[in-house]
């Protein structure tokens, strides 16, 4: 086989190997829940209360007509639309349209938050996840759309057509989202060593930020320079190793575990949560594999239940 053909085959296999639609469907619900929880009822409304003279719109936000700060009334309309769209996403009703609307509104409102002189990139992977899921067949399982489609087939007398449980398009959103997370951490590590090399990890830098943030645990850590140095080295190793998880999928559980430890550290020592970032790890839970395990155990314990589960979900 020619190298080009082999490369193309590998590329296709990487992105388009069939995967369970159930994983995508459940991840869609988790994603909608994360965004709903993040937005809450008040997240964007304070924008309408900030003094207008502090408004420094991003160029593309000004080009959209928001050269003045959006009013409280406008923000409340955006909030209502956004909540309705996200609820539809969670239920899987008109999923693609709802996700597209929710994505655009989220992008706009997140951009408003970045129009006051401070750039924050903590929710960017979440936005990418919404975009990827809007383009993926995440409406094919665990959704009202799937139920309605099934009902429509019954009406047309084609109820015996089996519903697809796997799709060649069910894997790529996870792969691309992992690539986004990997680049997110990697670029953070690259920015550190790009500006000052490995000297960044001499411990003084971490000590500086710990003193600045001044949490009780951080002040304790700041008084132990050797510990600061060791943790700085670990941070660089953690951030720079994420791209390895793109080709080597088996490394991902380790990277997720170290990511949770990393963020737990930043919460305790620096009061920096970034929870919309690490909660995205939940999208990678292999729900279909867990369901299969649960079904197997249920089958052993309750043979009748196993038969019933097969009737409900197919063999």
């Amino acid at each position: 086989m020619k190298p080009g053909v082999r490369l193309r085959a590998r590329w296709c296999d990487f992105w388009f190997r069939p995967a369970a639609l159930l994983d995508l469907g459940v991840a869609r619900i988790v994603l909608a829940a994360i965004v709903l929880r993040l937005n809450g009822s008040m997240r964007f409304l304070p924008i309408g209360l900030i003094s207008p003279d502090l408004w420094k719109p991003l160029p593309w936000i000004a080009a959209l007509g928001f050269d003045q700060r959006p009013s409280l009334e406008q923000l409340m309309v955006f909030r209502r639309l956004s909540h309705a769209a996200l609820l539809a996403v969670a239920l899987g009703l008109l999923t693609h349209a709802a996700l597209a609307i929710a994505f655009v509104l989220q992008l706009l409102q997140e951009a408003f938050l970045n129009c006051f002189g401070k750039t924050s990139h903590g929710t960017l992977p979440l936005l990418y996840a919404m975009l990827f899921f809007a383009l993926a067949p995440c409406d094919r399982a665990v959704s009202l759309d799937a139920l309605l489609r099934h009902g429509w087939r019954r009406v047309r007398g084609r109820a015996d057509t089996p519903q697809a449980r796997y799709s060649v398009y069910a894997r790529w959103p996870f792969e691309l989202l992992f690539a986004e997370l990997a680049s997110y951490y990697f670029l953070a590590g690259l920015a550190k060593i790009g500006s000052s090399g490995l000297l960044w990890a001499d411990g003084y830098t971490l000590q500086y930020y710990l003193l600045e943030k001044a949490t009780p645990a951080g002040l304790w850590l700041a008084s132990h320079p050797l510990l600061c140095t060791a943790l700085s080295v670990l941070v660089l190793a953690f951030e720079l190793s994420w791209p390895l998880g793109i080709p080597f999928r088996r490394l991902r559980p380790l990277l997720f575990a170290s990511g949770l430890a990393f963020h737990a550290g930043t919460i305790v020592f620096l009061r920096v949560s970034f929870w919309p970032l690490w909660v995205l790890y939940a999208l990678f839970v292999p729900w279909s594999a867990l369901a299969a395990i649960a079904r197997r155990y249920a089958g052993r314990l309750f043979p009748g239940a196993h038969r019933m589960a097969n009737v409900a979900t197919g063999p």
Binding site: W11, W15, F16, P18, A20, P46, L49, I50, S51, D53, L54, L58, P59, A111, N114, F116, G117, K118, T119, S120, H121, L124, L135, P137, Q163, A164, R165, Y166, S167, V168, Y169, W172, L176, A179, E180, S183, F186, L187, A188, L190, A191, K192, S195, S196, L199, W200, Y204, T205, Q207, Y208, Y209, L211, E212, A214, A222, S223, P225, L270, V272, P315
Partner: protein, 163 residues
Amino acid sequence: MRRRVQEAPARDDRATPQRCLAQQRLLSGFFAAFLVLKLAEGWFGLDSWPLTDVSMFWERKPADVVPKRARFYGMRDGATFELSSRDFWLSEDEFNTRLRDEDDLARACSALAQSYNQRLRRRGLSRQRLSGAYAEREEIPRPGVPREPWHVRVECAVSAGDP
């Protein structure tokens, strides 16, 4: 054998090879564009939201550089009280960017004081306006490194016409 055939996943049958290839090519173009964008963000250090790789704590701070802390105090009806980021509806980072990290502390704190008063006036709460304000900035010494204490205090102009 029969059992294995029965358990084989029901694939996405709607994708014929031709349609599948076309869709896969389209998606592949999207993936490639995304990956190029990520490389560009890193290579060129793009910093315009949402195309940004702004990372926290990237800047190296050698041993002789010490962190600073800034505080803002307002006065009203003869009482002095500290105002935090929440009083300006700003995040802690936004507040620090404006007060602690600005070179000209007097100008930075005046801008904050004036925006605070203007917001109260717009909401019909002029009686709660600040009659005076000042800001303080101080260095936080590193543990075990002796250093002369450094502290500065500046008065803020609470209305645009103030000297």
